[in-house]
């Protein structure tokens, strides 16, 4: 009941004219940028972060939630019509959805993905609403020891367990942790790894790193290696609505996809890639039309898209209740909170209930706006896809440099942006995942802080991490996921077989 009232007061925040408008602007901007080929949700959000800076924290986060949803939908549209997945979780949509589009069923593919996203997003938000208070109750009992253990688990799953190669994932994580070290030590105020450069005292900004890796790195990569291949855009022919048979074949995959996606998003296992592949596999087994799979089966779009969206909402569970980002996108949302001096976590539910519940309520609203806005406007989004590649990347770089320079009007940030861009280029070329860099740089300093607090409490006794029941359990789970990763391996193999080229998340 208490949750219900909290949610109601959240709606009273989300439904004010100003916040409704901000949500609307967020969804529109998010879709418009997210639909651009090569721009995934993480980059969309990093690019649009400066645009939210002039609003109050609650309004900015509501707008940001809208951008998140819009970017997810925009990415699916691009995957279906262009077969260029913006991130690894839309690979499946890109495969099966693009095949549907090739058969002249682009409208139905877009519709099942949009309505599926709505259904999954709404159910997942309901689950988040009613489960979050319980997680918060548990999280309030967490001390530094438990937090450190959970962060170790997140580091492990994000880098070593997921993805094609544990060695490359770990290397990427350590790069991020090193970036996180730069700046003033939070406990003693000492400068570390600033190389005597005053600009580095504040540490590296996550916007510079994200935009450098995703925008500059991607631009360098496409210009150098991929510019000779021309893209073919599938046209949206016929009705954008689904017929009776489409509905009949879609609704169960939506629900199954949601059931798969949400829990995977909640556990710190990073990303929607696994549930989308699992959903695809399950739909392929259960369908009455197995012959259509691999030629554009609607179930193969409906299920994975629902899984993708449910998992995206699920990711907000550890982020809001524990302050734990498990994907590149979540790391950027966390950065948006930090921009206002807010640290997501169980305490935020107490100190800023208006903000947290307003944000959760705005997710319901955002889902509705998305559905109302996007299907009718699909023609506009398709036009954005036909921007010639030279102009597209030129435009992306204007916004990328604007985002980096606008932070503090310093050319030094542009130099950093380029340096990190070259790093992103190399990582893309050698299939090193980039999400662990962002998670590492955001979570590294927090983990160090918790570790040192924990040892201060235990008087320097390291055994505290295994004698406290919760932290011991979490560390045991961490060990298990390293030792028993057969499911993940199978998915990784499926991923390599299915795409044959790297996509970074």
């Amino acid at each position: 009941m208490e949750t219900f009232y909290a949610l109601l007061s959240g709606f009273s925040v989300a439904l004010t004219l100003q916040n409704l408008l901000l949500g609307f602007v967020g969804v529109t901007l998010g879709t418009a940028v997210g639909v651009l080929p090569g721009v995934g949700p993480a980059l969309t959000m990093a690019l649009l972060l400066p645009a939210t800076a002039s609003v109050d924290p609650t309004g900015a986060l509501i707008m940001f939630a809208g951008i998140y949803y819009g970017a997810m939908f925009g990415g699916s549209t691009t995957s279906i019509l262009l077969n260029t997945p913006g991130e690894s979780s839309t690979i499946v949509t890109a495969m099966e959805g693009n095949l549907m589009a090739k058969r002249g069923r682009a409208g139905a593919a877009l519709a099942t993905s949009a309505i599926g996203s709505f259904v999954a997003g709404t159910i997942a938000t309901v689950l988040l609403t009613f489960a979050a208070p319980f997680v918060v109750d548990v999280a309030l009992k967490f001390g530094p020891t438990e937090y450190f253990a959970v962060m170790v688990l997140a580091f492990t799953t994000v880098s070593a367990v997921l993805g094609a190669s544990p060695a490359r994932g770990m290397a990427s994580l350590f790069l991020g942790l090193t970036i996180g070290l730069i700046g003033l030590d939070s406990q003693t105020g000492q400068a570390r790894f600033t190389l005597g450069i005053p600009e580095l005292l504040d540490g590296l900004d996550v916007v510079v790193v994200a935009v450098g890796l995703f925008a500059v790195g991607e631009t360098l990569y496409v210009a150098t290696f991929l510019n000779r291949n021309a893209d073919t855009i599938e046209q949206v022919k016929g009705s954008i609505w689904m017929d009776r048979a489409d509905w009949k074949r879609s609704w169960k995959p939506w629900l199954r996809g949601t059931a798969l996606g949400f829990p995977f998003g909640c556990i710190p296992a990073g990303g929607a890639e696994i549930p989308t592949f699992l959903s695809y596999g399950i739909e392929k087994k259960l369908t009455r039309h197995p012959e259509e799979f691999g030629k554009g089966a609607i179930e193969g779009v409906a299920g994975p898209e629902a899984a993708n969206n449910a998992s995206a909402s699920g990711t907000l569970m550890p982020l809001l209740t524990l302050g734990l980002p498990t994907t590149a996108t979540a790391a950027i949302i966390l950065a948006a909170f930090q921009q206002y001096g807010l640290q997501p976590g169980p305490l935020l539910f107490d100190t800023q209930p208006e903000l947290v519940w307003g944000l959760i309520a705005s997710m319901y609203v955002g889902n509705v706006i998305l559905l109302l806005l996007n299907l009718p406007l699909v023609g506009v989004w398709v036009k954005l896809l036909s921007i010639p590649r030279p102009l597209l990347y030129a435009g992306i770089l204007i916004f990328a440099t604007l985002g980096a320079y606008g932070l503090r009007n310093s050319w030094f940030d542009l130099a950093l942006l380029y340096g990190i861009g070259v790093m992103g280029f190399l990582m893309r070329r050698y299939d090193i995942p980039v999400a662990p860099v962002l998670v590492g740089m955001i979570l590294g300093p927090l983990a160090e802080q918790q570790f040192r607090r924990a040892l201060a409490i235990s008087q320097g006794e390291l055994s505290i991490f295994v004698t406290q029941p919760i932290s011991a359990t979490v560390l045991a789970i961490t060990a298990l996921v390293v030792i028993v990763p057969p499911i993940w391996r199978r998915v990784a193999r499926m991923r390599a077989a299915a795409i044959g080229h790297p996509i970074h998340n």
Partner: protein, 161 residues
């Protein structure tokens, strides 16, 4: 998994670079003054662990590179067989030029040139048209962000006009 016969020099170089970076972190950490205070652990422990971890990853990848190549690499050798390095150079030059120009020439001029050069790197041959589009776009962005979102961007010498 495709076994490659030849050693990939890029893979080996990146592995070595990771080892070098990790070692640098470890060495540079010893320059941080150790103050323990209440924390029992000072500001040195994590940098030591992270530097060591990075070196281990570099060594791991280096071993993979000389024993059949990095594991589980995607098989898109075709894309990588003929890199367009001039394009890489133009993109790089565009960003560096933008960095140099933005302070005194202002956001609009720097961004319009950036736009034109990037389009050029991607094979556009109509630089006059690109410059025009770039100028319109940067002007619009400039006014949107400075007046609409109260961000401060340098106007450069156009600011006097």
């Amino acid at each position: 998994m495709n076994a490659r016969m030849k050693l990939n020099p890029g893979e080996l170089l990146i592995s070595l670079a990771l080892i070098a970076l990790g070692s640098f972190v470890v060495v540079d950490t010893s320059a941080i003054t150790e103050t323990q205070g209440y924390g029992q652990v000072g500001p040195r422990l994590f940098p030591y662990l992270i530097g060591a971890g990075m070196s281990v990853c570099g060594a791991w990848l280096g071993w993979q590179a000389i024993s059949g190549g990095w594991r589980n690499m995607p098989s898109d050798e075709g894309d990588h067989s003929s890199p367009d390095w001039p394009a890489f150079a133009i993109v790089s030059a565009a960003i560096v030029l933008h960095m140099v120009l933005i302070g005194w020439a202002g956001f609009i001029i720097a961004s319009a040139l950036l736009f034109t050069l990037i389009a050029r790197a991607f094979g556009s041959r109509r630089s006059g048209r690109d410059l025009a589009i770039g100028a319109v776009l940067s002007t619009a962005v400039f006014f949107l962000f400075t007046y609409g979102l109260s961000m401060s961007l340098p106007a450069g010498f156009l600011g006097g006009v």
